[in-house]
Structures are given as C-alpha cells and as structure tokens.
Symmetry: C2
Subunit: 451 residues, 2 copies
C-alpha cells in the first residue's frame, strides 16, 4: 500500500488494525513524509500506532519542527523509548536542532549512559569527523576465531549502525586492524582474526574536517571509516550514508558563499524571512559600497563621456562581460580545489592556461563586438575608432578578468580564506574598476581629438 490518501482514510475512520498492517509495508522515510503532511493530532495518533521497532527510524526522518511538536505531545515513557532507540548520531542531530528547553526535557528521559554519550558527541566542533560519527560499531579481538566473531556479531548486531566493517582493537581500545563481514564469510570458521584482518588502516581523527573525510570515502570506496582520538583509541565510526549528506551540504554551502551569502543551515522554506535577509544583506551592502568606487573612476572620465556619449552605452556590456569571463574561471578553480582536483601549487599551469583561453575568447568577443557596434551605428562620426575602442577594451578586460578569476581563489586558499568567497560577485566588482580604466584610457588615445 503506497497510497497516502488511503492511509489517511484509514486513520480518519480509525481502522487501526488495517492501518498497522498497511504501515508495516512502507519504508520509514515514507512514513515520515506522510506524517509531515498530517495535522498534529493525526500525526501523534499515527506515530503511536507505529511498530515499536520502526518508531525511532521514522522519528529520525522527520523535519526538526515536526520532531519538536511531536515531542511536546508524547508521554515521558514514549520520549524515553524514542531517545533510547535512536542511533546515537541521529539522536545528536535531533538534540542539536531542538530549543534548549526541549533538549533538556528529552535528555532527562534518557538513561544515564545515553545521556553521557550524547553529551560527549555534542562537544565535537561542527564540521569535524567527531560531529558526524556514531559510537555504535562492532569491535572484536584479534585472538577471536571467525566463528567467535559471528557469534558476537549475531549478539550485538541488531543495535549497531553497520555490522559489515568490524574493527579489531587491543584491550586499551587502540585499533589494530579492520575486517569485513565479506572476509569473515570467505574464511574458515577456526581462523584467528589476527591472521586475516587487514592492517593497512586508514583512520581519521575526531577533529579531522568532514570534507577531508568525504574525500577519503571517495578515494577508497569504503563503507565506513574509524575515528580515533589522539592516542589512536577508536571512539566511533563514520558510515558512507552520512557522507552522501556531507557532500550535498558542503556543495550547498559553496553555492551560497559563491553567491555572496552567509550559508544557511536549514532548507530555504524553513528559514525565516529575517534570517534569509540577514544572510544576504552584509555582502550586498559591502559590494555596493565597493561598487561605488567604480563611480569615482567614472567621475574622473566625465569629460570623455560627455564628449563621446556613445561610450556610456558600452559600460554595462563591458563590465558584465568582464564579470562573466571572470566568474567562469573562478568557478572552475574554486570547484576544482573543493574536490581536490586542483591544488594551489598548480597556479603557474593555471595562469598559462587561462591566459591562452582568454586570448582566444578575447579575440572572438572583440570581433563580434566590433562588427555589431560598427554595423549598428552606421553614420556615426569616427565610427571605426569608436568600434576599435570597445573591441580592444574587451580583449584586455577578458584577459584581466580570467587572470583575476583564476588567481584570487588560489590566493585565498593560500591565505586560509575560503576560496568560494572569491566568486562572481567579488570578481565582478574588482574587474569593473580595472576594465573601466582600460576602456577610458584606450578611448583617450583613439578618440583624444574629440575630447
């Protein structure tokens, strides 16, 4: 039964038995999507008739505001069941999203052990490996046989987020090796884990940046990766399903920064007007003030454009083309560094490449612009010189724009600033000024006799 309306009708008519049966055939993520659409009364009702073993998974899939309203309606016993059954990384995400009062209420209903584990995880810095790891993994001893390992996995497996990669640790919980269930299945029952485990360990530390963790997953195609503390003791694991989310979130963050915004943590539709305004206004004001600098340049050329008013009509086209040319280069370099295909030490290679590209692009653009200006202003005095002014300015502008666009993100990276800051908006503002200076300088040379 995949039909939402059908389920809603059963709920409406209180056919709880049919409903229970119907729900057991639906993925938790889909049940969560259904609950999002219901009124709060019906949502609580539906949540209460969920099978006990899927309650936590459905809950983890709900939006933060629905989790909050739901928690406010549930009994103490129900809250305590939810928090205990949630995987710890989901529990931490949930607690982080809640207002302090709700978070405290929930934690007060957890067992002491769960509460301590959650609090420990909450302390890791945002965007660190520690903040996305879970502590529910399978650890084994090197002296165990394959058969012992299966016995242990069967016993503790149901509560672990993944059983497919197991970690072999010493008595101090220092990690000694890794062994997959695939290897266990393909080995003889009496073999010792110490003999078959893989000792080429790729580890991350609790404070490793989560983008770096994502890169390791991409490179090695792991299902999970162990997280260790400063003494190489394993403290948790990161699973690949969370990495898909990390990759999406990091890309979204870069999109936002590159469009001159403070990154937002919540989806657009869930963010308040004021918060969205706050994320955008800072850069808008800053770039506007910087952009006014271009005005001063133009004031200096008042005589020139009063003598040749046609020059004014080229300004938007010239600055826009510079902005576009620059942001093309900046985007490729910023993205290339984000996915580690480009490193700052490639800067000479990049500069030489961009120089050649801008030579090609500059020539094509200047020919098109020349023809268009020449043909559309037929009859205008000194037309050849005027067309040449715009044509030559374009070549210089594209060249400067592409060089600035490709080099500034690299410079930012060297200075430990996020390269994404050096994207279209900032490049445009920088390129505006220089392109207008070039433009009017060339105009003065070629059209000086008119000014």
């Amino acid at each position: 039964m995949n039909n939402h309306t059908e389920l809603e009708n059963l709920l409406e008519e209180k056919h709880f038995n049919l409903l229970r049966k119907g729900i057991s055939e639906i993925e938790p993520a889909d049940i969560a999507a259904l609950i999002e659409k219901l009124s709060i009364e019906k949502a609580v009702l539906l949540f209460r008739i969920l099978p006990k073993d899927s309650e936590a998974e459905v809950f983890a899939n709900l939006e933060a505001d629905t989790q909050e309203t739901l928690i406010r309606r549930l009994s103490d016993k129900e809250i305590s069941h939810v928090i205990e059954e949630l995987f710890l990384d989901d529990a931490v995400d949930f607690i982080e999203e809640m207002p302090a009062s709700v978070a405290q209420k929930v934690l007060s209903h957890a067992t002491r052990e769960t509460r301590e584990q959650i609090n420990r995880l909450l302390k890791y810095p945002e965007d660190s490996a520690g903040s996305i790891m879970t502590v529910e993994y399978v650890h084994l001893k090197r002296s165990m046989s394959v058969q012992d390992a299966f016995t242990k996995i069967r016993k503790i497996g149901p509560d672990k987020e993944t059983i497919y990669t197991c970690y072999v640790t010493d008595p101090e919980r220092r990690i000694e090796g890794v062994i997959s269930v695939k290897t266990l299945l393909l080995s003889e029952p009496e073999q010792a884990l110490g003999d078959i485990m893989d000792t080429n360990l790729i580890l991350v530390h609790t404070d490793t940046d989560r983008e770096e963790v994502a890169r390791l997953f991409e490179k090695y195609d792991f299902l999970s990766l162990p997280v260790v503390d400063s003494e190489r003791r394993i403290v948790g694991i990161i699973t690949i399903d969370d990495i898909v989310d990390v990759v999406q979130e990091e890309a979204t963050e870069d999109f936002e920064i590159m469009a001159a915004m403070t990154p937002s943590e919540k989806p657009y539709l869930k963010t308040s007007v004021f918060k969205l305004f706050k994320n955008r206004i800072g850069w808008l004001v800053l770039l506007m003030i910087t952009g006014m600098g271009t005005g001063f340049i133009l004031q200096g050329y008042e005589e020139a454009f009063l003598a040749v008013p046609l020059l004014v009509t080229f300004i938007p086209m010239l600055t826009d083309t510079g902005g576009n040319a620059g942001s093309q280069s900046a985007t490729l370099i910023i993205r290339g560094m984000a996915v580690s295909e480009i490193s700052p030490k490639d800067f000479l290679k990049i500069a030489w490449k961009e120089a050649r590209i801008s030579a090609l692009a500059g020539v094509v653009l200047s020919i098109v612009a020349f023809l268009r200006v020449y043909l559309l202003n037929y009859g205008e005095p000194d037309l050849l010189a005027k067309s040449l002014v715009i044509s030559l300015s374009l070549i210089f502008t594209v060249f400067m724009a592409k060089l600035a666009g490709s080099m500034l993100p690299i410079l930012a990276k060297r200075l430990k600033i996020d390269p994404a800051v050096m994207a279209a908006p900032l490049i445009t503002t920088i390129v505006d000024t220089s392109s207008l200076i070039v433009f009017f300088s060339i105009a003065k040379i070629l059209l000086g006799h008119l000014m």
Copy 2:
C-alpha cells in the same frame, strides 16, 4: 610503508621482492596515485609486479590518459587479465574514456561474455541508472534456506561488487524481495528466504535519471538499489559508493552551468585549452550581445545623462547590486530544487518570501546609498533629489532582481529547461535593462527640470 620516495628508490634499484612486500601494504587508490607520478617505463614495471588480485583495482583508480598509455604497453595476455578482473561498471567507464581504436583492442581481448555485457551496458543513455549500474550482484531463490544462501554467497561472493544486499528473484529473474546479510546473520540457518525477505521494494528502471537515483539513496540510506527492466526483471544494481561520485559530479555540473559554461566531463587540468575555450565562448558571446541591448536603453537616455553626468557614475553600482541581489535568490532556488527541498508548486510561498526579503534589503541598501551619495558629493547642486534617485532606484532594482531571480528558475523547471541556466549571468543581463529603465525614469521625474 607509506612513503612514495622509498618505493621509487626500490623500483630504481630493482629490489623487486622488497617492493612487492611494500606494495601489498598500500591501498590500491594510493598505488594508482603513485603510478600517476612515475615515468611510463617505471609505471609499466610497477604495474607488472602488482599482486594479480589487486591489478584491476589499481587500474580502475588510474586517470584515463594513464590507462591508455599503460594499455598500449601491456601484452595481450595482460590486457585480457585486466579487462576480465575489472568490475563491469569500472570496465565500462574505462572503455568509454578510451579512443575507439584502444577500446576495440581491449574488447577483442575480453571473453565473449564480458564483451557482450560491456556492450549492453554501453548502450544505456548517459546519466541514466543503466549507465552507473553493475551486473555483479548476488541473487538468491525464495525457496533457499539461510544456510543455502550463505553457501551460495561464499561461492560466488569474491566476484561480486557487494554481497551485503542480496536479491531474491523468480525463475524469470523478476525481483521478489530483498534480503541483507545482516538479516541472514540474525536468522536461523533453516529459515526459508521467502519468509524473512523484505518485500517492500524500492526499484529503479534502467532509464531512471541518476540524480533521481541519488535522491532515493539519500532518502532511504540504502547500500545498494536494484535496477529493473520494463518487465521488472533485475538487470543490475547500483552501489552507494558510486552515488557519492554522482552527487559530486551533478554539483560540479550545476556550478558550471550556473557560471554560464557548458559542463566539462574531465577535470580542469586534464582539459585542453581549446575545449575549455569552447565550453565558455558560447555563453560569453550570447550574454554580450544581450548585454548590448542595455546600450540601446542608455542611448535613449543620452539627454538625461548629458544634463546630469553624476547619473552615469551610479550605473555600475546599480546594475551590480541588482545582479548580486538576483543571483542570491536564484542560487537558493536552483539549489533547493536540485536537492528536492523546493518544488515548483511552492512558487507563491517563495514569491511572497522574496518580496518581504527584498523590501528589507532594498530599504537598508537605499539608506546606505543615500547617505554615501549625499555626504560624498556635498556641494553638488540638487543633491537631495540626486541622492533620492539612486536610493529609490535601488529599492525597485532589488525587488525586481529578487523576484526575477526566484521565479525564473521555477519557470525554467516548469518548461523542462535546466533551472541552473537561470543563474547569475542571465539574471544580471535581464536585471540590467529593467533597473536602468527604472533609474532613468525616476531621474526624469525628480530631475526633469535639469534635462
């Protein structure tokens, strides 16, 4: 031994035994990275002493151009070993990257079965589920017991890309259920798969878009997903490690389209100057020609700016601010739709939200601009009116920019055009025209007596 130089020295001095030992302790992805750095002679030498069972995995991790040079140096027997040992999805990726002559040579050294499978996979459209699936999965029968299942997994497991999710099929290979190794491990040996398999099936078709597949993985946190043909027969599976790559590639594609480029398939440093030029020039020319339209608008206001030259100095700041305001909104909406947080049917909610944000942003920007223009041009005649012109124009510009920026991507989506096309460059060009019309219209009203 993680030290590249050390390995290179061993290679130099032909200490092959030490080298073999050293290499067995390194991840295939790292060996591939080392090979990339070697001269072709040394690369071939190192490749030849790799343990036979890691050769294919190392090969799959090499860049396309290194794969090509290597293939040209390998013997027929070596080529045939590589192509047979590669997982089929890696083999297809590799064949796709090769020039036709090399691809043919490689295929001629494959067994007939492998060749047929590769050719079948090559036929699926790019970006479809078929193009990223692998055909190496475990399928079981519903009548099998858990014990039978383990026996089969042990037998065929080594050649399968993942064994952790197994598919239960009928004699026509139509998919009946799915069962994880975790479930198998937690069940009794004599239970029949038909009784314990999960029949809530989430399937994709061979022609499902890979972005849609990625969304399913994100939503349900699967390790793999079955791909079926039009008769519900399973033809392959997609594994989550490939989804991480899909998510990165799709984000990169959007970054490139949003910066007005044709998306490139290869990394920046591996793309030729001419190809990069070709990817960029089309949009640059198109946007330049459109941008010239703004020139015509300005020509119509020649009288106005000749009478009040100060107006010209505001042009770049006004158009840049409009562009920035618009691209902020466009970016959030494009990205929101890409990750399915926003759907076109939310357009009224979005328009109302953006209207309020732009009211706030417009007022703040206009106050800042007013103060700055008023204070910095002290002594200029009619200064109050002139400052008001720029101030009021900003309010209108920001409003139009944010509305166009948020609505155009939605319109594009409705018209089945990629919303990413409606990003900064195009928005800027559109907003330029309308903001200049507003600007000069307001100027004519407030400063008409000067013109």
